[in-house]
Symmetry: C2
Subunit: 239 residues, 2 copies
């Protein structure tokens, strides 16, 4: 395997530069077709990460019409989760600890927003979800979300906290044959399927385009979650 | 719902007495046929609990020929897990902390026994299991077993510890789309299927039959796991 970024080229052993490259030599098996309009290309770029990371588990666990789907957390992954689950036909509910994210969630396609620290709001949705995509990358208690799943429901983790989540109780899983699973990015053929699906449904990422001199400021803002919802670097100013 | 034991009868409101009853009135939808020989009936009794508890998740997650299946823990549930997974055609491996259980595990049908506190033994089986049935009912670390699952593998918990298991790391799930799930007993139609499957494959529980006066001693022995593998009470001596 040769990683796109910060890996070694097979022949020259030079560092790979990924999207910072002017040109790239690659086996055609690893090239993707983009059917979006050219003006949308900057907003398509994050689909190759946040898009496929959220699309792949929703396809594997067969998210579709008639299902109730929860998205936990509204960031780069969560905002794609809302758009994609909505386009797949599901009734989408955002779980967030930030009441000020509600308006944006509804704009992105969510039908309901639940403040996940409010036990009363959670109780209304108990045992009702087919599928929950948990995008939170800080340690948190999984049990309240497991209790939201109905019989045979699955919660998929796509965020990796630096310290472990608090231990899930066995009873919440056992009593309704619920599952906790994880999923990481996706393969090339599924990424192509995701890009085609997004082009067909006019889905892109919400992005803020920056020039290279803004990169340090953007990094600090990313750490504070102050971005809606992905930074894309315009490389044209670099040379 | 009217529970068989220690519930209230629908009409008289008297306590239900389950298997201690001389006779019982029940809707035919809740009656099961037993095809085993009459001499085997005592050893069939635990199939209604330990049998269906282990059979149901193995059917739901489609355990079958060509699969590598792990059973964690060799007690009442674990010994049925080994017998049933073997009869379903899987290559069965027992995980245990007790080296002195190895001989019995092989007798019951396991092909391999892994001492789960021995990191070197575990490492050999890393990323190789389709399915793991975890029957342990005391809190333990789930991560070493998650690491045994291959891509898309599932570990199902059927034991409920009194304190939570240590928190599973998200990365172990995410890196190979693995799942942790739970399962509880099974429905009537699946219980009938299990009984028919066991009769066809000459499967019963390994039991020790006791008389009612031995019940307190048996209870103490059960707490020490000193039973191979289920006590059955012979009610004939009671009246």
């Amino acid at each position: 395997m040769t990683g796109t970024y910060n890996s070694q080229e097979q022949v020259s052993r030079a560092n790979t530069l990924g999207g910072y490259s002017d040109h790239i030599v690659v086996s055609e098996r690893f090239v993707l077709r983009i059917a979006h309009h050219e003006e949308a290309l900057a907003a398509v770029a994050p689909l190759l990460c946040a898009g496929i990371t959220t699309y792949s588990p929703m396809r594997y666990w067969k998210v579709g019409p008639g299902q109730k789907v929860g998205i936990v957390g509204l960031g780069g992954l969560g905002h794609m989760g809302i758009k994609l689950a909505t386009a797949l036909g599901a009734h989408v509910v955002l779980f967030t600890t930030s009441p000020n994210k509600a308006e944006d969630a509804l704009r992105l396609g969510a039908k309901e927003v639940v403040i996940s620290e409010n036990a009363g709001e959670l109780a209304i949705h108990s045992n009702s979800f087919d599928f929950i995509l948990n995008t939170v990358a800080v340690a948190h208690d999984l049990d309240p979300f497991i209790a939201m799943l109905k019989m045979n429901g699955t919660m998929v983790l796509v965020g990796i906290p630096s310290s472990p989540n608090s231990p899930p109780g066995a009873f919440g899983l056992i009593s309704k044959r619920r599952s906790i699973a994880g999923s990481m990015i996706g393969g090339i053929s599924e990424t192509q399927e995701m890009l085609d699906f997004c082009a067909k449904h006019n889905i892109v990422s919400d992005v803020e385009i920056i020039k290279m001199p803004q990169i340090n400021d953007a990094f600090e803002r990313m750490l504070r979650s102050d971005v809606k919802y992905r930074f894309v670097i315009d490389m044209s100013g670099l040379s």
